[in-house]
Symmetry: C2
Subunit: 169 residues, 2 copies
DNA sequence: GGGTTTGTTCAAATTGAATTGAACAATCCA
DNA sequence: TGGATTGTTCAATTCAATTTGAACAAACCC
Protein backbone atom coordinates (compact mmCIF):
# COMPACT_ATOMS: atom_id res chain seq x y z
CA UNK A 1 0.00 0.00 0.00
CA UNK A 2 2.80 2.44 0.71
CA UNK A 3 4.20 4.12 -2.37
CA UNK A 4 7.61 2.92 -3.58
CA UNK A 5 10.71 4.12 -1.67
CA UNK A 6 11.23 7.03 -3.98
CA UNK A 7 8.41 9.40 -4.88
CA UNK A 8 8.33 8.01 -8.44
CA UNK A 9 5.23 6.06 -9.36
CA UNK A 10 5.99 2.48 -10.30
CA UNK A 11 4.32 -0.65 -11.73
CA UNK A 12 1.97 -0.16 -14.65
CA UNK A 13 -1.71 -0.04 -13.78
CA UNK A 14 -4.05 -2.38 -15.68
CA UNK A 15 -5.06 0.19 -18.25
CA UNK A 16 -1.46 1.04 -19.00
CA UNK A 17 -0.68 -2.64 -19.31
CA UNK A 18 -3.51 -3.03 -21.81
CA UNK A 19 -2.24 -0.22 -23.97
CA UNK A 20 1.37 -1.34 -23.79
CA UNK A 21 0.24 -4.84 -24.74
CA UNK A 22 -1.57 -3.55 -27.80
CA UNK A 23 1.51 -1.72 -28.99
CA UNK A 24 3.80 -4.64 -28.28
CA UNK A 25 1.66 -6.75 -30.60
CA UNK A 26 1.46 -3.91 -33.08
CA UNK A 27 5.18 -3.44 -33.48
CA UNK A 28 5.79 -7.17 -33.76
CA UNK A 29 3.67 -7.17 -36.89
CA UNK A 30 5.98 -4.48 -38.22
CA UNK A 31 9.03 -6.52 -37.33
CA UNK A 32 10.22 -4.19 -34.58
CA UNK A 33 11.42 -5.37 -31.17
CA UNK A 34 9.06 -5.57 -28.25
CA UNK A 35 10.81 -2.83 -26.25
CA UNK A 36 9.87 -0.36 -28.98
CA UNK A 37 6.23 -1.20 -28.46
CA UNK A 38 6.54 -0.93 -24.70
CA UNK A 39 8.18 2.46 -24.85
CA UNK A 40 5.87 3.96 -27.44
CA UNK A 41 2.85 2.42 -25.73
CA UNK A 42 3.67 3.90 -22.35
CA UNK A 43 4.32 7.31 -23.87
CA UNK A 44 1.02 6.99 -25.73
CA UNK A 45 -1.04 6.54 -22.54
CA UNK A 46 0.87 9.04 -20.47
CA UNK A 47 -0.49 12.52 -20.15
CA UNK A 48 2.85 14.05 -19.21
CA UNK A 49 6.06 13.47 -21.17
CA UNK A 50 8.38 10.86 -19.68
CA UNK A 51 12.12 10.76 -19.20
CA UNK A 52 14.42 7.88 -20.01
CA UNK A 53 14.56 7.05 -16.31
CA UNK A 54 10.78 7.02 -16.08
CA UNK A 55 10.71 4.41 -18.83
CA UNK A 56 13.38 2.30 -17.16
CA UNK A 57 11.60 2.47 -13.84
CA UNK A 58 8.05 1.84 -15.00
CA UNK A 59 8.67 -0.71 -17.75
CA UNK A 60 11.49 -2.42 -15.87
CA UNK A 61 13.75 -2.41 -18.87
CA UNK A 62 17.46 -1.63 -18.90
CA UNK A 63 18.81 1.83 -19.53
CA UNK A 64 20.45 0.38 -22.64
CA UNK A 65 17.13 -0.79 -24.07
CA UNK A 66 15.43 2.47 -23.28
CA UNK A 67 18.21 4.51 -24.84
CA UNK A 68 18.34 2.46 -28.03
CA UNK A 69 14.57 2.24 -28.22
CA UNK A 70 14.21 6.00 -27.96
CA UNK A 71 16.83 6.46 -30.62
CA UNK A 72 14.97 4.26 -33.07
CA UNK A 73 11.64 5.88 -32.25
CA UNK A 74 13.16 9.31 -32.78
CA UNK A 75 14.59 8.23 -36.13
CA UNK A 76 11.09 7.08 -37.13
CA UNK A 77 9.67 10.40 -36.04
CA UNK A 78 7.43 8.52 -33.63
CA UNK A 79 8.69 10.29 -30.54
CA UNK A 80 9.90 13.81 -29.95
CA UNK A 81 11.57 15.66 -27.13
CA UNK A 82 9.03 17.66 -25.18
CA UNK A 83 10.02 21.26 -25.40
CA UNK A 84 9.89 23.85 -22.65
CA UNK A 85 10.73 21.22 -20.09
CA UNK A 86 10.90 23.46 -17.03
CA UNK A 87 13.41 26.07 -16.04
CA UNK A 88 16.69 24.53 -14.93
CA UNK A 89 15.71 21.01 -16.04
CA UNK A 90 18.57 19.00 -17.47
CA UNK A 91 16.83 15.75 -18.15
CA UNK A 92 15.00 15.46 -21.48
CA UNK A 93 11.40 14.31 -21.64
CA UNK A 94 9.73 12.52 -24.52
CA UNK A 95 6.23 12.54 -25.96
CA UNK A 96 4.72 10.44 -28.74
CA UNK A 97 3.84 11.65 -32.19
CA UNK A 98 0.25 10.58 -32.64
CA UNK A 99 -0.49 11.54 -36.24
CA UNK A 100 -0.78 8.39 -38.30
CA UNK A 101 0.62 10.17 -41.33
CA UNK A 102 3.84 10.93 -39.54
CA UNK A 103 4.20 7.42 -38.15
CA UNK A 104 3.61 5.76 -41.48
CA UNK A 105 5.90 8.20 -43.23
CA UNK A 106 8.74 7.53 -40.84
CA UNK A 107 8.31 3.80 -41.06
CA UNK A 108 8.32 3.84 -44.83
CA UNK A 109 11.32 6.13 -45.00
CA UNK A 110 13.43 4.24 -42.48
CA UNK A 111 12.34 0.63 -42.76
CA UNK A 112 10.75 0.10 -46.15
CA UNK A 113 12.53 2.29 -48.69
CA UNK A 114 16.03 1.05 -47.86
CA UNK A 115 14.95 -2.54 -48.48
CA UNK A 116 13.20 -1.62 -51.71
CA UNK A 117 16.32 0.15 -52.90
CA UNK A 118 18.70 -2.68 -52.10
CA UNK A 119 16.24 -5.05 -53.70
CA UNK A 120 16.24 -3.05 -56.91
CA UNK A 121 20.03 -3.11 -56.98
CA UNK A 122 20.18 -6.86 -56.58
CA UNK A 123 17.61 -7.30 -59.32
CA UNK A 124 19.65 -5.18 -61.71
CA UNK A 125 22.57 -7.51 -61.07
CA UNK A 126 20.35 -10.49 -61.59
CA UNK A 127 19.11 -9.07 -64.85
CA UNK A 128 22.64 -9.09 -66.21
CA UNK A 129 23.31 -12.62 -65.03
CA UNK A 130 20.11 -13.81 -66.65
CA UNK A 131 20.86 -12.07 -69.94
CA UNK A 132 24.17 -13.93 -70.17
CA UNK A 133 22.66 -17.41 -70.00
CA UNK A 134 23.59 -19.63 -73.00
CA UNK A 135 20.53 -21.74 -73.72
CA UNK A 136 18.03 -19.42 -75.44
CA UNK A 137 14.93 -21.10 -74.00
CA UNK A 138 16.29 -21.03 -70.50
CA UNK A 139 17.38 -17.42 -71.00
CA UNK A 140 13.95 -16.42 -72.20
CA UNK A 141 12.35 -18.05 -69.19
CA UNK A 142 14.71 -16.36 -66.75
CA UNK A 143 14.38 -12.94 -68.33
CA UNK A 144 10.63 -13.31 -68.06
CA UNK A 145 10.88 -14.02 -64.35
CA UNK A 146 13.29 -11.16 -63.79
CA UNK A 147 10.93 -8.83 -65.63
CA UNK A 148 8.22 -9.89 -63.28
CA UNK A 149 10.38 -9.12 -60.28
CA UNK A 150 11.06 -5.68 -61.71
CA UNK A 151 7.34 -5.17 -62.17
CA UNK A 152 6.75 -6.06 -58.52
CA UNK A 153 9.32 -3.54 -57.41
CA UNK A 154 7.79 -0.83 -59.52
CA UNK A 155 4.39 -1.62 -58.06
CA UNK A 156 5.87 -1.35 -54.60
CA UNK A 157 7.42 1.97 -55.42
CA UNK A 158 4.13 3.28 -56.74
CA UNK A 159 2.14 2.09 -53.74
CA UNK A 160 4.16 3.80 -51.06
CA UNK A 161 3.34 7.43 -51.86
CA UNK A 162 -0.25 6.44 -52.30
CA UNK A 163 -0.28 4.82 -48.89
CA UNK A 164 1.11 7.94 -47.34
CA UNK A 165 -1.50 10.04 -49.06
CA UNK A 166 -4.40 7.87 -47.98
CA UNK A 167 -3.24 7.54 -44.40
CA UNK A 168 -2.90 11.29 -44.09
CA UNK A 169 -6.70 11.25 -43.65
CA UNK B 1 33.03 -32.69 -62.41
CA UNK B 2 31.09 -35.95 -62.13
CA UNK B 3 27.42 -35.47 -61.31
CA UNK B 4 26.33 -36.31 -57.74
CA UNK B 5 25.92 -40.01 -56.83
CA UNK B 6 22.26 -40.00 -57.67
CA UNK B 7 20.96 -38.57 -60.92
CA UNK B 8 19.41 -35.63 -59.08
CA UNK B 9 21.00 -32.25 -59.73
CA UNK B 10 22.46 -30.70 -56.62
CA UNK B 11 24.03 -27.47 -55.31
CA UNK B 12 22.47 -24.23 -56.47
CA UNK B 13 24.22 -22.51 -59.35
CA UNK B 14 25.17 -18.84 -58.91
CA UNK B 15 22.07 -17.50 -60.62
CA UNK B 16 19.81 -19.62 -58.46
CA UNK B 17 21.69 -18.48 -55.40
CA UNK B 18 21.14 -14.85 -56.39
CA UNK B 19 17.41 -15.34 -56.77
CA UNK B 20 17.06 -17.30 -53.57
CA UNK B 21 19.01 -14.58 -51.78
CA UNK B 22 16.65 -11.91 -53.05
CA UNK B 23 13.64 -13.79 -51.79
CA UNK B 24 15.24 -14.59 -48.45
CA UNK B 25 15.68 -10.85 -47.91
CA UNK B 26 12.21 -10.20 -49.23
CA UNK B 27 10.41 -12.47 -46.84
CA UNK B 28 12.39 -11.24 -43.89
CA UNK B 29 10.94 -7.79 -44.49
CA UNK B 30 7.53 -9.42 -44.29
CA UNK B 31 8.43 -11.17 -41.05
CA UNK B 32 8.47 -14.65 -42.52
CA UNK B 33 11.20 -17.23 -41.85
CA UNK B 34 14.13 -17.60 -44.18
CA UNK B 35 13.20 -21.09 -45.33
CA UNK B 36 10.03 -19.66 -46.87
CA UNK B 37 12.12 -17.35 -48.99
CA UNK B 38 14.46 -20.14 -50.00
CA UNK B 39 11.65 -22.43 -51.05
CA UNK B 40 9.67 -19.83 -52.93
CA UNK B 41 12.82 -18.43 -54.48
CA UNK B 42 13.95 -21.77 -55.84
CA UNK B 43 10.51 -22.53 -57.22
CA UNK B 44 10.52 -19.07 -58.80
CA UNK B 45 13.71 -19.69 -60.82
CA UNK B 46 12.91 -23.25 -61.71
CA UNK B 47 11.38 -23.97 -65.06
CA UNK B 48 9.95 -27.32 -64.00
CA UNK B 49 7.88 -27.83 -60.84
CA UNK B 50 9.82 -29.27 -57.90
CA UNK B 51 8.97 -31.93 -55.36
CA UNK B 52 9.53 -31.72 -51.63
CA UNK B 53 12.56 -33.94 -52.00
CA UNK B 54 13.99 -31.68 -54.69
CA UNK B 55 13.76 -28.78 -52.25
CA UNK B 56 15.39 -30.75 -49.45
CA UNK B 57 18.18 -31.89 -51.73
CA UNK B 58 18.96 -28.63 -53.44
CA UNK B 59 18.45 -26.19 -50.59
CA UNK B 60 19.94 -28.55 -48.02
CA UNK B 61 17.10 -27.99 -45.61
CA UNK B 62 15.38 -30.66 -43.54
CA UNK B 63 12.28 -32.44 -44.70
CA UNK B 64 10.50 -30.86 -41.74
CA UNK B 65 11.33 -27.35 -42.88
CA UNK B 66 10.36 -28.08 -46.44
CA UNK B 67 7.06 -29.60 -45.42
CA UNK B 68 6.12 -26.76 -43.10
CA UNK B 69 7.34 -24.16 -45.52
CA UNK B 70 5.25 -25.57 -48.34
CA UNK B 71 2.25 -25.68 -46.05
CA UNK B 72 2.57 -21.98 -45.22
CA UNK B 73 3.19 -21.04 -48.84
CA UNK B 74 0.13 -23.00 -49.89
CA UNK B 75 -1.97 -21.26 -47.25
CA UNK B 76 -0.78 -17.94 -48.67
CA UNK B 77 -1.69 -19.07 -52.14
CA UNK B 78 1.94 -18.49 -53.14
CA UNK B 79 2.52 -22.04 -54.29
CA UNK B 80 0.29 -24.58 -55.95
CA UNK B 81 0.52 -28.22 -56.80
CA UNK B 82 1.44 -28.69 -60.40
CA UNK B 83 -1.33 -30.61 -62.06
CA UNK B 84 -1.02 -33.34 -64.63
CA UNK B 85 2.14 -34.56 -62.98
CA UNK B 86 2.73 -37.56 -65.17
CA UNK B 87 0.92 -40.85 -65.41
CA UNK B 88 1.71 -43.10 -62.47
CA UNK B 89 3.48 -40.37 -60.49
CA UNK B 90 2.82 -40.44 -56.78
CA UNK B 91 4.97 -37.58 -55.66
CA UNK B 92 3.44 -34.10 -55.82
CA UNK B 93 5.24 -31.24 -57.53
CA UNK B 94 4.95 -27.57 -56.72
CA UNK B 95 5.08 -24.41 -58.76
CA UNK B 96 5.00 -20.77 -57.65
CA UNK B 97 2.11 -18.39 -58.12
CA UNK B 98 3.67 -15.38 -59.79
CA UNK B 99 0.79 -12.91 -59.95
CA UNK B 100 1.48 -10.12 -57.48
CA UNK B 101 -2.23 -9.70 -56.86
CA UNK B 102 -2.53 -13.23 -55.60
CA UNK B 103 0.55 -13.01 -53.42
CA UNK B 104 -0.50 -9.77 -51.81
CA UNK B 105 -4.03 -11.02 -51.35
CA UNK B 106 -2.87 -14.16 -49.58
CA UNK B 107 -0.50 -12.27 -47.35
CA UNK B 108 -3.15 -9.79 -46.33
CA UNK B 109 -5.73 -12.48 -45.72
CA UNK B 110 -3.46 -14.77 -43.69
CA UNK B 111 -1.00 -12.47 -41.98
CA UNK B 112 -2.49 -9.00 -41.80
CA UNK B 113 -6.24 -9.30 -41.30
CA UNK B 114 -6.02 -11.62 -38.29
CA UNK B 115 -3.81 -9.13 -36.48
CA UNK B 116 -6.06 -6.23 -37.41
CA UNK B 117 -9.05 -8.14 -36.08
CA UNK B 118 -7.47 -9.08 -32.77
CA UNK B 119 -6.28 -5.51 -32.45
CA UNK B 120 -9.77 -4.18 -32.88
CA UNK B 121 -11.03 -6.53 -30.21
CA UNK B 122 -8.41 -5.42 -27.72
CA UNK B 123 -9.19 -1.80 -28.45
CA UNK B 124 -12.89 -2.35 -27.79
CA UNK B 125 -11.91 -3.72 -24.38
CA UNK B 126 -9.65 -0.79 -23.81
CA UNK B 127 -12.40 1.61 -24.72
CA UNK B 128 -14.52 0.26 -21.87
CA UNK B 129 -11.66 0.43 -19.39
CA UNK B 130 -10.96 4.02 -20.38
CA UNK B 131 -14.62 5.03 -20.09
CA UNK B 132 -14.68 3.83 -16.50
CA UNK B 133 -11.86 6.04 -15.27
CA UNK B 134 -12.85 8.28 -12.33
CA UNK B 135 -11.00 11.53 -12.85
CA UNK B 136 -12.83 13.36 -15.68
CA UNK B 137 -9.73 15.03 -17.10
CA UNK B 138 -7.79 11.83 -17.19
CA UNK B 139 -10.80 10.06 -18.66
CA UNK B 140 -11.14 12.64 -21.39
CA UNK B 141 -7.47 12.31 -22.26
CA UNK B 142 -7.63 8.53 -22.42
CA UNK B 143 -10.79 8.45 -24.49
CA UNK B 144 -9.14 10.79 -26.89
CA UNK B 145 -6.19 8.48 -27.29
CA UNK B 146 -8.41 5.44 -27.67
CA UNK B 147 -10.40 7.25 -30.34
CA UNK B 148 -7.20 7.84 -32.16
CA UNK B 149 -6.31 4.17 -32.01
CA UNK B 150 -9.72 3.34 -33.43
CA UNK B 151 -9.12 5.82 -36.23
CA UNK B 152 -5.84 4.12 -37.03
CA UNK B 153 -7.52 0.76 -37.23
CA UNK B 154 -10.21 2.08 -39.51
CA UNK B 155 -7.57 3.59 -41.76
CA UNK B 156 -5.84 0.26 -41.88
CA UNK B 157 -9.05 -1.48 -42.79
CA UNK B 158 -9.68 0.99 -45.57
CA UNK B 159 -6.21 0.73 -47.00
CA UNK B 160 -6.10 -3.02 -47.49
CA UNK B 161 -8.70 -3.38 -50.23
CA UNK B 162 -7.18 -0.41 -51.96
CA UNK B 163 -3.77 -2.05 -51.86
CA UNK B 164 -5.15 -5.17 -53.39
CA UNK B 165 -6.82 -3.19 -56.11
CA UNK B 166 -3.72 -1.20 -56.99
CA UNK B 167 -1.41 -4.19 -56.96
CA UNK B 168 -3.74 -6.10 -59.25
CA UNK B 169 -2.12 -4.02 -62.05
C1' DG C 1 0.96 -59.25 -44.40
C1' DG C 2 5.90 -57.10 -45.32
C1' DG C 3 8.44 -53.44 -47.77
C1' DT C 4 9.01 -49.00 -50.06
C1' DT C 5 8.11 -44.32 -50.99
C1' DT C 6 6.14 -39.86 -49.70
C1' DG C 7 4.96 -36.69 -46.52
C1' DT C 8 3.71 -34.84 -41.53
C1' DT C 9 4.43 -33.86 -36.67
C1' DC C 10 6.65 -32.28 -32.72
C1' DA C 11 10.19 -32.30 -28.95
C1' DA C 12 14.85 -30.88 -28.77
C1' DA C 13 18.75 -28.32 -30.58
C1' DT C 14 20.26 -24.37 -32.98
C1' DT C 15 20.65 -19.80 -34.20
C1' DG C 16 20.08 -15.05 -34.47
C1' DA C 17 18.12 -10.97 -32.56
C1' DA C 18 16.99 -8.35 -28.41
C1' DT C 19 18.25 -7.24 -23.91
C1' DT C 20 21.20 -6.48 -20.20
C1' DG C 21 24.65 -4.25 -17.47
C1' DA C 22 28.85 -2.32 -16.68
C1' DA C 23 32.15 0.80 -18.49
C1' DC C 24 32.39 4.99 -20.59
C1' DA C 25 31.35 9.96 -22.25
C1' DA C 26 29.34 14.41 -21.41
C1' DT C 27 27.42 17.99 -18.77
C1' DC C 28 26.52 20.37 -14.81
C1' DC C 29 27.35 22.24 -10.08
C1' DA C 30 29.81 23.47 -5.91
C1' DT D 1 38.87 19.50 -9.33
C1' DG D 2 35.79 16.18 -7.55
C1' DG D 3 31.34 14.44 -7.35
C1' DA D 4 26.66 13.96 -9.04
C1' DT D 5 23.43 13.31 -12.80
C1' DT D 6 22.09 11.96 -17.42
C1' DG D 7 22.68 9.37 -21.29
C1' DT D 8 25.37 6.17 -24.77
C1' DT D 9 27.91 2.11 -26.29
C1' DC D 10 28.91 -2.52 -26.89
C1' DA D 11 30.41 -7.29 -25.44
C1' DA D 12 28.17 -10.93 -23.11
C1' DT D 13 23.92 -13.07 -21.94
C1' DT D 14 19.18 -14.35 -22.57
C1' DC D 15 15.36 -15.55 -24.99
C1' DA D 16 12.26 -16.69 -28.73
C1' DA D 17 11.63 -18.32 -33.26
C1' DT D 18 13.28 -21.44 -36.59
C1' DT D 19 15.23 -25.57 -37.89
C1' DT D 20 16.33 -30.24 -37.34
C1' DG D 21 15.72 -35.12 -37.17
C1' DA D 22 13.63 -39.07 -35.74
C1' DA D 23 9.30 -41.19 -35.00
C1' DC D 24 5.09 -41.64 -37.02
C1' DA D 25 1.15 -41.86 -40.52
C1' DA D 26 -0.60 -42.80 -45.11
C1' DA D 27 -0.65 -44.56 -49.59
C1' DC D 28 0.99 -47.74 -52.75
C1' DC D 29 2.92 -52.28 -54.51
C1' DC D 30 4.40 -57.09 -54.23
Amino acid sequence: MTPPPDGASNELDPLERQVVGIFVDGVRVLGLPRSIGEIYGLLFVSRAPLSLDDLVLRLKISKGSASQGLRLLKSLGAVREADGNGNGERRTYYEPAVELKRLVGGFIREQVRPHLESGKTKIRHLSETAGAVEDPDQRKFLCDRVDRLEQWMRSGGRVLPLLQKILGQ
